[in-house]
């Protein structure tokens, strides 16, 4: 048995810039509040769902069972199973795919997919040297042994290890990687700033027309994403100094890169039958999804280019071209990432040599891209972005009417990417 999983709706809290409004909220606080918002919106109090799947990219050791703990603290029935998933910035979309697949196979009838991340309440790890001493200390049997070990502790070891937005194998930040790719694809500063401004204007317009009224629940005094700058202009953005890349060719600024953000999102998926029984709407179906990974360490491919590889595989499987979609959601980790990806799909050499295609995938109608804003404006709490995009796109397709197709593309740390097709 296979069937397409329905997207019933979603909920998220407004995204907050790091160390601002959500400075004191933990991942569990935000995920629980977000699930409870979804529960309130769809009347799910006490309901036993098939599964809740969510994750966080930056996670405390104590949050090993983050999603289950959040379910236990929520209004859902405590007999709702849950598990954590982590695929860097692909976490939220991957969670939705996992829930949708179980629904498609008939293993569950309903589920929530979500994600949360905080860069404010980030885990600090004990310095490795100190950790080794402390473990040995715990295992030491005699007092002299313990004293000897205690004597080994040096002041420098008391400095905790800070989580950093850096690829462990290259030592480069994600921004520095993206800057390399931007250079390869000759993505101009102007085109990046234009994309950033469009993101802010589109998100602001969507808020203004009430698009997010049933997608966002206010939290801790925020009613909108506090990174949103509705009055953003290309002229203003042009004055900013580059923060990633070096010298003349540096194009990436704080405005055309996403800031560190806190937030959480959740999406309710179900079989059509379950939705009907519960008298809930079906906004769209999750049709298919594909992941890909690239060798950004030794293989010469850009860190965030994996979605470019995932896309043709998924399109071919579904007999679709890149142009067969009414809306596109390409996650704006950096404006240059979106633009590099689109340039790659347009490039005959790349499509032939790297993707093994006879013809390039071609271009995307920019008026259909990120029409309700994306991560440059909303912010990007890593694991929460997938849920934001799935719920917003499902609603936007539903507004266009039945039979409309939407495409999602999300890049992730570690050289990975997740793409998916929704259809209303």
């Amino acid at each position: 048995m296979t069937r397409k999983a329905a997207i019933v709706g979603g909920n998220r809290i407004p995204f907050a810039r790091s160390n601002k409004k959500y400075a004191r909220a933990s991942n569990q606080d935000m995920l629980t509040a977000t699930i409870d918002g979804l529960v309130a919106r769809y009347g799910l109090a006490g309901e036993q769902l098939g599964e809740v799947v969510a994750g966080a990219v930056l996670k405390h050791a104590r949050d090993f069972n983050l999603t289950r703990e959040s379910v236990l603290g929520s209004q859902l029935s405590p007999s709702t199973p849950a598990y954590d998933v982590q695929q860097a910035c692909g976490t939220g979309l991957e969670a939705a795919v996992l829930v949708a697949n179980k629904i498609a196979l008939g293993q569950i009838e309903s589920g929530i997919a979500g994600g949360t991340d905080t860069t404010s309440d980030a885990p600090l790890a004990v310095n490795d040297d100190l950790r080794h001493v402390l473990i040995a200390l715990n295992n030491a049997k005699t007092l002299p042994d313990r004293l000897k070990l205690l004597g080994k502790i040096r002041p420098g070891q008391l400095v905790p290890d800070q989580p950093r937005n850096v690829e462990p194998r290259t030592g480069l930040s994600m921004g520095e990687h993206a800057a390399q790719t931007a250079k390869v694809w000759e993505v101009s500063r102007e085109s990046q700033d234009e994309l950033a401004v469009a993101s802010h204007h589109n998100l602001a317009a969507a808020y203004d027309r009430g698009f997010f009224d049933d997608l966002v629940t206010p939290f801790l005094g925020l009613t909108r994403d506090d990174n949103l700058r509705p009055d953003s202009t290309v002229e203003k953005l042009a004055t900013l100094k580059p923060v990633f890349g070096e010298g003349e060719g540096a194009t990436m600024t704080a405005a055309n890169s996403t800031p560190l953000t806190d937030g959480a999102s959740a999406v309710l998926l179900a079989s059509d039958e379950w939705a009907a029984e519960h008298q809930l709407p079906v906004l769209a179906h999750l049709v298919d999804a594909q992941t890909a990974a690239v060798d950004y360490v030794h293989g010469g491919e850009g860190l965030l280019m994996a979605p470019a590889y995932a896309m043709p595989v998924m399109l071919a499987r579904n007999g679709l071209t890149l142009q067969d979609f009414d809306l596109y959601e390409i996650h704006e980790a950096f404006a240059s990432t979106v633009l590099s990806t689109m340039k790659a799909w347009e490039d005959p050499a790349f499509c032939k040599e790297k993707l093994g295609l006879d013809a390039p995938l071609g271009s995307i109608d920019r008026s259909k891209l990120n029409v309700n804003g994306s991560s440059l404006a909303a912010g990007h709490p890593f694991a929460a972005t997938g849920g934001r995009i799935v719920a917003s796109l499902a609603k936007a397709l539903h507004e266009l009417g039945p039979g409309k197709r939407g495409l999602i593309s999300i890049c992730a740390a570690g050289g990975q990417g997740v793409v998916a097709i929704l259809e209303s």
């Binding site: 004191r24 909220a25 933990s26 569990q28 606080d29 629980t32 509040a33 409870d36 236990l72 603290g73 929520s74 209004q75 859902l76 405590p78 206010p218 939290f219 801790l220 005094g221």
Partner: protein, 283 residues
């Protein structure tokens, strides 16, 4: 009742406890009909976050159900520290507490607080008094609290004694709490209740306790936090504080769903002695 005396800020608790100790002797007479109030009090989210962390509530848009108690508590203490209050504050024991959450209260709501004393009653070993708190938001009462204190050796006018017991049915163990010796200091920091009996062994000894004891309201809050997500939106939680929970110690929480709410008990793991017995019921 007289017109409420409106205070512009929360009174400082340290000086109040000192004043109450210095003026403890020679108290007596009837309860004053003073009402102390604060209006349009804004809650500091950082304080709620601290409180939630110590009591293990989730931090979010809704105040933990016991949080308004820490907002009204300074007014209670101010009332009791005043010379017009017939019982001496040092030595008063919190023996019962009832909280009514009329509806969930938002972190960003401006709250009007009012506190007064009532029901000075005889008890076989002294007298009891209730400190009543009412919290309003835009005119509607959203939260009520009633704290019953016992003053050993004190006297009260003739009358029916206040019932200090909360009876519960069978409960089953749900959790074990390892309560560290700094639990009192940590709760004192977030609640402002700096009563020395909670802070350290030394300061507790000065008041006749062998060791520091946990705040009853912390025990109550932590039990409620354990039931997060499983509580009605409008409920009363009525608890009796039995034997003190000495710090550090290991306690158990036992619960049973009953009548749309819960019965609960917090007990010493070793001796099985009751620390807190409580009933949660929908309002």
């Amino acid at each position: 009742m007289g017109t409420p005396v409106v205070l512009s800020s929360a009174p400082a608790m340290g000086p109040l406890f000192a004043k109450a100790a210095l003026t403890a002797r020679g108290r007596g007479g009837a309860l004053p009909d003073t009402h102390l109030a604060r209006v349009a009090v804004a809650v500091d989210p950082a304080r709620v976050a601290d409180y939630a962390e110590v009591c293990r509530f989730r931090f979010g848009d809704t105040l933990p159900p016991t949080f308004p108690h820490v907002l009204t508590f300074p007014l209670q203490v101010a009332l009791m520290a005043d010379r017009s209050f017939p019982l001496a504050l040092p030595g008063l024991v919190h023996v019962r507490n009832r909280v009514d959450v009329v509806r969930p209260v938002g972190v960003s709501e401006k709250l009007d607080l009012e506190v007064w004393a009532s029901d000075l009653r005889p008890h076989r070993s002294g007298a009891t008094v209730d400190l009543v708190a009412s919290v309003r938001s835009r005119g509607d009462e959203v939260w009520r609290g009633r704290s019953t204190y016992l003053a050993r050796g004190a006297s009260a006018p003739e009358g029916e004694p206040t019932d200090l017991d909360v009876t519960i049915g069978d409960v089953a163990q749900a959790a074990v709490w390892r309560v560290p010796d700094d639990a009192g200091r940590r709760y004192a920091k977030v609640s402002g209740d700096v009563n020395p009996i909670h802070l350290s062994g030394l300061t507790a000894k000065a008041f006749g306790f062998e060791r520091a004891i946990a705040h009853g309201m912390w025990v109550k809050a932590r039990a409620l936090a354990a039931l997060s997500g499983r509580l009605p939106s409008s409920f009363s939680v009525d608890v009796a504080f039995k034997k003190p929970l000495f710090l550090p110690s290991t306690a158990t929480l036992s619960t049973a769903a009953r009548d749309g709410g819960w019965d609960l008990a917090v007990r010493n793991q070793k001796s099985g002695q009751d620390h807190v017995l409580g009933r949660i019921r929908p309002l």
